[in-house]
Structures are given as C-alpha cells and as structure tokens.
Symmetry: C2
Subunit: 329 residues, 2 copies
C-alpha cells in the first residue's frame, strides 16, 4: 500500500515529518511511502536501505494556514496537498496524510477527490479520548451549517468507521446536545433526533457536553460548528489545567519532590488526553482515503498517522459508505 | 433590599438552601430575605435574632427538573418559583434567586417578568473562570435558535453587566467561533461578526473555544446552543481531570504523602474552576433581577448568590439595558 505524505504545512517542518512517516516502514512491511515536498530536504532522508520503499514527488509550493481554502486548492496547482490529491486520483497513491491547512484539505476532498454519491457533506472525524477509551466524533468542523439529514449521514458513516476500523460491535451513536431528554436543543437538533430515532439502528439518544468524556457512546454526532466548539474546549481546558499543574509542581522544592513521586501516573493522565497520540482524523464521505494529522504532529504522531492510513484504507470504510447509498436507492 | 429565595428545586434541600441564604444577613446589613417554601421546614430556621429581617412565603408546590418549563410556569401557580416572580411583580421583593429548573426560570422571565422593551431575547449570563479571572459569557442556553441581532443585543447587555457589576473598563467583547479570522464559522456567526464590527464599541473579534480559558476578553458572546456546549464541556473536562487526579493521588501510600504536600495549591486550581464559588447567573433582558444559582449550590454558594443579587440589583443593570433601547429609538 502506497501512503502519500504531504510534508509541507506542518509546524515541525518537512524533515521531521518525513522522518516520522518513514518510521512506519519498520512497523508495517506492506507499505511504501511517497514523500511530497522539497527534494533538497527529502533526498538526504531516503537512505539506501529504504530507497526501494520511499519515493519523492518534488514541489516547494505550499498552502499556508492563512490561505483561503477553496482558492488555494484551485490556484496553487503545484502545492504539496494538491499534488497529493492528484496522486490519489491518478491511482499512484492509495492514501494521503497531511498536517496542512484543514480547510484546504476539506476543500480538496470536495473538489479534487469528490463526494461519494448520495453523501451530501463529507465530515472530519477525529477520535475523542474518553474514560472508556477513544471514541469517534463527527463532524469536527468541516460543515458549519448543517441540515438534519447531514447529521444522519454523519451517524451512518461514523458507525461504519467505528465498526470497521475500531472493531466496534453493538455501536451506540449519540447526538451531542444541551440536555439528555428528547426535545432538547435547537430546531436542527430536534429534527436530527427524530430522524436518527426513526432511521438509525443503534441510536442511543442525546449526550450532554458535560458527559462527553465519560464516553457512554461509540460515535458522537454533531454539526461542525458545535462539534468544533466541543473538541476545542475539551482540548483547551485540558491544556490549561495541565499548565496550571506544572506551575504548581515546580513552585517549591517540596512540591518538586512530591511531583516526582506522582510523575508516572500524571503522565498517564496527560497521555490519555493527548491528541498527538492519535493517528489522525479521516475525512469521511469522499472517494479516497485522506487523513488529517494534527498541525503540531511530531515524529511519533506522523508514524502513527501513516500506519493509521494503512489500517483505515484496508478496512474498506469507503467501499462500505459507497454501498450504504446503493442500498438506499 | 429584599431578596426572595426560592428554596425548592435545589439538590441540597430547602433547609440548607435557606440556611445559606440567611448567612448573607451577616455580610450585608442592607438586605432582608424572603424565604419561599415549606413553612414547617423554614420556620425553625428563623431564629428570634434574625426574625425582623427574614420572612416566609409558604408553599409546598415545586417545579421539578423534569417538568416542561412553559407548562410548569403556567400551570403550577403556587410553585415557589412562580410565587417568587409574583413577589417581584407586586413590588414585594427586589430580586429573586433560584436553584430550580433553569428552563422554567427562563420561561418565567419571559411570561411573568417580561422582556425589556426592544430586547428580543433575554440571555442567561454566567461567569466563566479564566486565567485572567472571572469573565462573563452569554447566552449560556436560554436561546438555542438565534439570529445575528440577538447576538448583538447579548453583547450590548453583557457589556453593561460587565461594566456595572464587575467595574470593567475598556470592555473587550469577543465572539465565540471556530477560528480567529473574520469569515470563520456558520452563516449566523459571519453575520454576527459583521454586525458586531459595525455597531459595537469594544468588539475584539473571534475567540476560539480552545482559548476561552485564557480569558483574553471581558464578555464572550455566543448563541445559547454553542454557549451551553462550551460551558458544559469546560465543566465536564475539568471535573473528569480532577477526578482522575484524585484517583492518582490516593493510589499508593507514597502518592498520598506526595499529594498532601501539593494539597493546598491543587485546592487553589480546583477552586479557580469551581462553578460553586460563583454567585450566580443573571437573566439579562427581563424587567426584574432574577439570578440562577447552580442546582447543586451549597450554603456558601447560596450566601454568595444572595449577596450577588444585592450587588446586581444595586448596580442598575436593568435600568441601563432599558436606557440602551431608548437611545436607539
């Protein structure tokens, strides 16, 4: 399986992104890596030992985080991300991993890969860390203006993803809301509740934002605006609290010694809520496997993302989403 | 100043709610307390020493958390919350504090107190704890389907509240959003951004959910759905993390000893994010001072809520909101 890696647009720089991705070669014998980016940086990384499993597609054009997504995708025809989509379309790569501009990656999904027939809106689908292990949530921000039908499709796609990639059985699909009772929330959420209750096997009702980390669901569905607010506030709160803890633990000699004793379990808590540990978020509903990795991914995160891309592609999520809509017709 | 206390509907029970509220009498010589609830429980609490400053309005009817808000407000005419609103309307109380059903309190605001002329939607306005101290945010869940104009009015009311009650100067009003750049977010948020930029002195732009706890704003504006998701996920994340820390700290003898050293600073962090420390959330945009206290308020929280009701009422927020709309016409 050929995994294309967009090495431009990540916080850490192309060299470390490429080095991380290459580490995946040791973990899986079935993959090869296509590095898209500046040849002069990437070539020295490709040692003779791995040369037969790594190729380079040269470009120096990059989509900046400040670029307007749709315009960037349309005009920057040599951008690493655009070339990545081109490899997928030409059948020269089987999956694409990018840490770049999320909006542009989503726009590329729509305009370069294309929606799966019958799917109205592709959704960005990250993992959310909970007390009951990682769960999946969608949409995390691809679609800020949603209709109830989109949310039903998110639920259907999320369920397939959860079952095929995470081997989930008896999948419970929850709807993010401001209360647990039916009838809570905005008009959109009332309609979505009804639609999910009528048409989705496994719908388990509303999930309050307060209970999201308890993880009493397998797939959490929301519109992209509320979903993004949820994920970012969980992330921001965890990061603020860990920052405060660090300050506390290093304040005095006594607290430093005490913190030493607690270091290992605290590390465990932190890792549990660390988005860097997670492989990446697929864009569900498009024709090709495209994985968004965190902009601040380090080497380990990139290795995980490349391996995750393989796992995701093998799991046949895209074929199952295609079949879903054939069934309906 | 006469502060009416709805003693029914709180998690802790009428007796402790009343005892907490009464503690406020020691803190402020200018207030008297009207306890609304079951006489047989409340009478023993009113000792001769405070008898001239505490009166009881007897009722045993209660709005349950499971009651439908509008129906409950309309049909349960002897409910403690409804009697509280009646005291305000009859000029027999100056402010009302309730820990009861939030939806019913909001419905009471609309149907029993009434909107201030020109205000389209009253908003629930809690404090949000941040690294730069407590800030205010609205709407926290009263209005789940909003128009851009509502958000502008939330901003105007929030600004008045922040300036009059918290003595804020050069008030910065931020708009909750999924990115900082103009043009981010849903259609509603794009329109609201434009409207705030055109009409609100002190508008400081979008605030990402991830940065909310950094507190680089004084007033944070959102629709009630996203606002509620934000607050509840901050609350849920903090509570989950503190729960995990507690488990870690009590796991072994060594960790217990270490935790002992860190107890005081950790307590400090916890208090900072503890919603119980906060006096309460006023319902801005209605004719009378109505303060929602947390359903799980303890005695200290109720004392704080009663004192906060006095402070809020004295600050003339309602008069300023009334004047705001006269100016516009």
């Amino acid at each position: 399986m050929r995994i294309a890696i967009d090495t431009l647009g990540a916080d850490l720089g192309a060299e470390r992104i490429a080095q991380g991705a290459i580490r995946a070669l040791d973990q899986s014998k079935e993959i090869s890596i296509i590095l898209i980016g500046d040849e002069s940086i990437l070539k020295p990384i490709v040692t003779p030992k791995i040369a037969d499993r790594v190729s380079i597609v040269h470009t120096t054009e990059k989509i900046e985080t400040t670029d307007k997504p749709v315009m960037a995708i349309r005009r920057k025809k040599q951008a690493s991300m655009v070339l990545g989509y081109q490899l997928l379309k030409d059948g020269k790569a089987d999956a694409l991993v990018s840490c770049g501009n999320t909006g542009a990656l989503l726009a590329g999904g729509l305009f370069l890969s294309g929606r799966i027939k019958g799917i109205e809106r592709p959704a960005l689908t990250p993992v959310i860390p909970t007390m009951q292990g990682p769960k999946i949530m969608l949409d995390a921000g691809a679609n800020v203006d949603c209709k109830a039908k989109f949310l039903l499709q998110f639920a259907q796609m999320g369920k397939i993803y959860s079952e095929r990639v995470f081997q989930q059985t008896n999948t419970r699909v929850g709807l993010l809301n401001i209360g647990v009772e039916p009838g809570k929330g905005s008009q959109l959420y009332n309609e979505a509740y009804q639609l999910l209750e009528d048409s989705l096997d496994g719908f388990s009702g509303n999930v309050e934002a307060r209970d999201v980390l308890q993880g009493n669901y397998d797939v959490l569905v929301a519109d992209g605006f509320a979903g993004n607010i949820l994920l970012k506030s969980v992330e921001g709160t965890a990061s603020t609290l860990f920052g405060l803890l660090k300050t506390t633990f290093t304040a005095t000699l006594a607290s430093k010694l005490a913190a030493l004793v607690l270091r290992k379990p605290l590390r465990g808590i932190k890792d549990r809520f660390d988005y860097h540990e997670v492989g990446g978020a697929p864009l569900l509903g498009i024709q090709h496997p495209v994985i968004k990795a965190h902009g601040s991914s380090d080497e380990t995160a990139m290795m995980n993302a490349a391996l995750f891309a393989e796992k995701f592609t093998k799991a046949g999520v895209i074929q199952a989403i295609q079949a879903l809509n054939n069934e309906e017709e």
